[in-house]
């Protein structure tokens, strides 16, 4: 007993002794920079890939101030953390915010108003369909980094073998799905994502639905408007006829397994899926291609699934430098090049002038196809007029909670939209926001 106890306590004691030493070395990074009379250091909080590369590239070329990157988890926890940082006054100078979360973050008073400084940049460098995502209530809250228009991913080898063509209209798409099923009873030409309410929103957006809006001084919520219900009925039908496979999302294990086995030969996803697809199913290199997504009348139309902007949180200590950095990483060709320098990111810059930076993406997985020309056309065809609302989170959870039931035929997608409408209006009211009926 005795020697054993000694050993353990010796171990513990040494751990405790070495503790202040290690703690001290953890603090030097930030501490030294503040103490030395050198250039200012601003903090930059972001969870997207290549944030480190961009920071390093900026620091190398800029001497008047430096940037320190804070790597943090993404998802709902990110926004919890941002809210508590603002509450305690420990905010970073620059923070990433996704478009669908921006109204929520703004309505909680967590951001600095950038109308004076970033407003002109947003008006000059960005098209209206993305301006509307960062301009809320007549004020500008951030500068867009990337956009995520939906496109149609398909297995070119399968399509060529069975003489199939990507669909132009939704009616064509139904036929295409039937043909795919006929050609290979195990294969499906599309998926229904049961854990991703963003897809339902994007399809409604493309179909002419507008979930949130403002009327005078009030919010307007119309999640179950006619266009959205029409879109819902269409997908509901595909699901019940088993023309599409049901998976949690396009980043789900089961989904990738199905792709690997050739059970999913085409699907709708945003441009960022390209990078994920090529690194997850490297075996299918050269077999995939991208086409515009189907639309109601055959004219090009798309919608966005994701995308993010950079903002300045309320109480930031270096707002001017923060804005300079944000401009560099969103609108400067050098900054955009840094985001894409790995050659594996299929991100689409929100500023159309920066499209050439996407040339870094290696397209051998898509047999050399110039996928970004398809993606940028899709971006152009995103209808303007869509904005997100402060309760997008509640809307999303209400929908995703019921998507599984839609897949099993227990619920109708149109009814799910109606319950999301009710839940969202209730949430607006509980936050004290006025809602126009």
């Amino acid at each position: 007993m005795k020697p054993g106890r000694l050993r353990i306590s010796a171990l513990l004691a040494s751990a405790v002794v070495s503790l202040p030493a290690l703690a001290a070395c953890g603090g030097t990074d930030s501490g030294a920079a503040g103490a030395k009379p050198g250039p200012d250091v601003i903090t930059f909080r972001s969870f997207v890939k290549a944030s480190d590369v961009v920071t390093a590239a900026f620091n190398k070329t800029h001497k008047d101030f430096q940037v320190k990157w804070e790597n943090v988890p993404s998802g709902g926890d990110y926004y919890t953390k941002l809210a508590s940082s603002v509450k305690a006054g420990n905010v970073p100078d620059v923070a990433i915010v996704e478009y669908n979360q921006l109204p929520d973050v703004v309505s909680q008073g967590e951001l600095e108003d950038l109308t004076e400084t970033a407003g002109p940049v947003v008006a000059k460098d960005f098209p209206p369909q993305v301006q509307q995502l960062v301009n809320l209530g007549g004020k500008t809250w951030g500068i867009p980094r990337d956009v995520a228009p939906l496109v149609f991913f398909y297995r070119k080898d399968f399509f060529d073998k069975h003489k199939l063509e990507p669909a132009k209209t939704w009616d064509d798409y139904t036929n295409l799905l039937e043909e795919v099923k006929k050609a290979d009873p195990k294969a499906r030409g599309g998926i229904f994502a049961t854990a991703d309410p963003g897809v339902v929103a994007a399809l409604s957006w493309q179909g002419g639905g507008r979930w949130y809006g403002t009327e005078g001084q009030s919010w307007k919520v119309t999640i179950d408007d006619e266009p959205s219900k029409k879109v819902a009925a269409y997908w509901n039908d595909l699901v019940l006829k088993s023309l599409v496979g049901t998976y949690n999302s396009t980043s789900d294990d089961a989904f990738f397994q199905a792709v690997q086995k050739g059970e999913v030969v085409s699907y709708l996803c945003a441009n960022w899926c390209a990078g994920g697809l090529q690194s997850t199913v490297p075996d299918q290199k050269g077999k995939w291609a991208i086409a515009p997504m189907p639309s109601l009348d055959g004219r090009p139309a798309s919608a966005m699934l994701g995308g993010s902007a950079f903002t300045v949180p309320k109480g930031a200590k270096h707002p001017e430098q923060a804005l300079e950095f944000i401009k560099w990483i969103t609108t400067d060709p050098e900054g955009m090049k840094a985001w894409l320098s790995s050659g594996t990111s299929s991100m689409m810059p929100a500023a159309p002038a920066l499209l050439p930076a996407t040339g870094a993406f290696k397209t051998d997985f898509f047999a050399g196809q110039d996928i970004f020309s398809v993606v940028s056309k899709a971006y152009e065809s995103v209808p303007a007029g869509w904005t997100w609302g402060p309760s997008a989170g509640v809307t999303g959870t209400t929908i995703s909670d019921s998507l599984g039931k839609v897949a099993s035929g227990e619920a109708k997608l149109a009814d799910v939209l109606t319950s999301a409408q009710q839940a969202t209006v209730a949430d607006f009211k509980s936050r004290g926001l006025s809602v126009a009926q």
Partner: protein, 305 residues
């Protein structure tokens, strides 16, 4: 899987009222039921671990292309580990070190405080003793994650947000350990022994260090293990407290990898998170294997008395 499949019909087949072997049947029945439940519990704990073990030996292609509970077409544990320890300039080792420091250092000091406090509550008398103890019990009732935000705001006032101390100091407080230590002290340290030391002229501190503490060794290990796993698994507090990834504990680092892995189409990090999770389990297993004999020895002490 096969275990559940075979045990379930066995239970059903033996339920109808049948007479032969009346004495044997109930015994057999209860044994089947108990084993069935145990088998289920085992599957529940072992299956995820097995998946983790298998997934960590696969490359990206096999991870999504082969059955989760078998090996992949190639054995890639080596490259995965190499990738893990090289990623972001070896940040994983830093996280491992941080966690060890938070968990071992924090649990050691917390346990020392708990045992001393529990002993004091049991053996000494001082004003407002039971009232103060009630306050500590109140602390047991409030879940740690509910305390994270208030602690964060306090830490912010104290200026220790995003420092080592922001996570370390709160982990020194463990009210349940104080309660446990009091119970242990009442059971393991006879009042007669304490009286004897007083007669010999030892002060309270001397009595505690030389007599009380050695007798409470089991309590020490038990509370240590509780708080060690508690800190090892604590997530929400480091999440709000830390923004410098060099201070992250393992689970927060792994979570960062996991949440960003499928973001913007970079599933490579997914494999990092998987291999990292497997390596993270190892120290916990070692801690339990090494310390459990103290624990077991303690549980049976006094059983005969």
């Amino acid at each position: 899987m096969t275990l559940t499949a075979t045990s379930a019909p066995a239970v059903r087949a033996s339920t109808p009222h049948r007479k032969p072997g009346a004495r044997l049947m109930p015994r057999l029945l209860s044994r089947t039921a108990v084993n069935g439940v145990l088998a289920l519990a085992m599957l529940y704990t072992v299956m995820p671990l097995l998946w983790l073990l298998m997934a960590a030996t696969k490359n990206m292609r096999d991870l999504f292309g082969t059955n989760g509970f078998t090996f992949g077409r190639t054995f890639d544990l080596g490259p995965n580990l190499a990738h893990l320890f090289a990623a972001d300039d070896g940040i994983y080792l830093r996280w491992l070190g941080n966690t060890a420091l938070y968990a071992v250092g924090g649990a050691f000091i917390a346990t020392t405080l708990c045992v001393a406090a529990g002993y004091a509550f049991d053996k000494l008398s001082f004003p407002l003793k039971e009232k103060i103890f009630g306050l500590i019990l109140l602390g047991v009732l409030v879940p740690a994650s509910a305390m994270a935000l208030p602690i964060y705001l306090l830490a912010s006032k104290a200026g220790i947000v995003n420092t080592f101390w922001g996570v370390f100091l709160p982990s020194l407080v463990f009210p349940f350990g104080v309660y446990l230590a009091r119970v242990f002290s009442a059971a393991y340290v006879p009042a007669e022994v304490i009286e004897a030391t007083r007669v010999d002229g030892a002060g309270d501190l001397r009595t505690f260090v030389s007599i009380g503490l050695p007798m409470l060794r089991t309590a020490f290990v038990t509370i240590f293990l509780f708080q060690f796993t508690g800190i090892w698994n604590s997530f929400f507090l480091p999440l709000v407290m830390l923004t410098d990834q060099h201070l992250y504990p393992l689970n927060l680092g792994l979570y960062t990898w996991q949440t960003t892995s499928l973001n913007q189409g970079h599933p490579e990090d997914y494999l990092l998170a998987i291999t990292g999770s497997l390596v993270a389990v190892v120290p916990l297993v070692i801690a339990f294997v090494v310390l459990q004999r103290y624990w077991k020895a303690g549980m049976t002490t006094g059983a005969v008395k």
